[in-house]
Amino acid sequence: MFEQLFDSALADSAIRAMIPILLAALGGMICERAGVFQISLEGMMVAGAFAAVGGSYLVQSSTMGIVFAMAAGVAVSLILAFGAVTRKGDPIVLGIAINLFAFGITGFLLPQIFGVRGVFQDARIDGLARLPIPLLSDIPVIGRVLFTNTITAYLAFLLVPALWVFLFRTPLGLRLRGVGERPGAAQTLGVSPARYKYAAVIASGVLSGLAGAQLALGNVVQFAENMSSGRGWVAVVAVMLGRAHPTGVLGASLLFAFAEALGFRFQGNGLPVQITDALPFVMTLLALVVARKRFARLLDLTTASA
């Protein structure tokens, strides 16, 4: 049974499941580093998915879908930036409200613009092509799994080392971390915390928008209401588990994606969908229990406010 379970098709579906989670989690990681508590990844992701499908359908170009998705993610992210950074509002309250706003507005616009409810599917929606990278894609197994992928997937892969370099090897990254860890000190040195926080939140908007595009134009080619279905929250946990470190976040995202892919496979083997759907969340909870020492900061944050 196990030989049937673990093969390159499973690896392939795990990678595909990982891309949206990883993209959103990398955005969450940047915010975490800048000291902004970001739990609206879910909302930005669903807005991105909607805009990706909308843009791709209207212009019949997946590239425009990606552009629309990033714009939608940024638009939603600005609500948090304004509320939490400029107005110093509670990021938890804002995050929850932003998620509900994003679900509400996409559910509202779906019938208003496209005249359908629930799911929007159309032949004119241009999905993301899987672009094989010459030579690399010829490598057995890995070539198909990693190097025959969508543009958003390649971007996600590249962002892991790129963000590591940015955060730990550039002055800008150092200042960003400084803003998160010692805002007072950063300000004394002439670094404007607000500006860095805005940039971080907008970056998370871009990345969550891309995550939505991968979800709605890459993994499937359609928009379904609430189609992020908890992935944004899983990304929030991935940031915590990965200690807001690029490789840690990658590992955590891969773990959850693997659970999702495994659930999908079990489903094929006859397990009821209700049970397999819960698998990534159960896995996430178990991972939290195993790595529980890491959440003291979030716990302090969440028990002090609201």
């Binding site: 309250v93 409200a97 706003f101 509400g104 509202f108 979030l298």
Partner: protein, 367 residues
Amino acid sequence: MSGRRSVGGYVRAVRTSPVTFSLVLAFAVGATIVAVTGQDPFLAYREMFAGAVDGSGLRNTLARSIPIVGMALAVSVAFRAGVINLGGEGQMVVGGLAGTVVAIYTPGPGAVVIPLAMIAGAAAGAAWALLPAYGQTRLRLPILITSLLLNYVGRAITGYLVRFPLADVSVTLATTRQVPETARMPKMPVFGGVSLSIVLVVAVVAGLAIVYSRSVVGYETRMAGYSGRFARYGGVPVERQTIGVMLVAGAIGGAIGTHLIIGESLRFIDGELVLSGLAWTGLLVSLLAANRPVFILLAGLLFSGLQIGGLAMQRNADVSWRLAQVLQALVIIAVASRLTLRRLRRREVEQAEVAEVILEPAHVGEI
């Protein structure tokens, strides 16, 4: 304090309240969104308002306010104690199924079965809420995350149960059998039939209002909400309190879930309780009312009216009822962005405290 206010004082308080401002702002943004999508916002709002009160509108608004106010009360219990329970949905669903099972499979007269079903629902909801509560007190896992993730797990488990062991095989839906006539929550002959559960909800509002303002527990939970460290210093058993408020929140959620089946749908259909987003509406209501029970009642009626009116708007003005959800979220975003000056000051104080701890290792604050 509000007892001595004059009528003019009330008018001024409402007019200058940030909540009023936020409501106006949300409706203005909502109107813009409707106009941009090519519809008439004034027609939409007129239909929305009429739909919430005209004909059967008032009855439906009252009926929908039961779960909204109920879930808001559940949220308020936890939030004002500083416990961020986002698991209302899961607690409602798990409790709802437990209550439904008791209602379907327990023989006996309604006077026995109905209360029993509500108690079973409350117990199951409380038990489900205990998981994230222990997670926080024993394992130091933030309730914010665990309670939310458990929503998906609770939905999966109940979905599995109604599809297989508890399924009504005579229909194609994944659902339980229908609740027998004797076990249904009776309707009162007011406004054309409102569920008896509304009495329970009003009783909980009154009960919580008294507990919050007059009792030691109410005071201690509020202190813990302001500052866990301060409360602990004052001798409040914060961990036990976290368990306590989660039990109460889960119990209310479970009872509301049961009401939604034995008083409304009569079948537990997979995903139906989640689809309506009632738990999340309740959460927004509690935030808008700043966790105060009487204001929750008012805000709950308002949001319920928005949703019921929204359905009429969808029928008559061809504008999706989801506008109601957008408006609700916008109100909270506006309130959260505006009620900031006080929060800011408190955070600065906290940061100053943290700075002291760093400078002085043997700080008194380390309790």
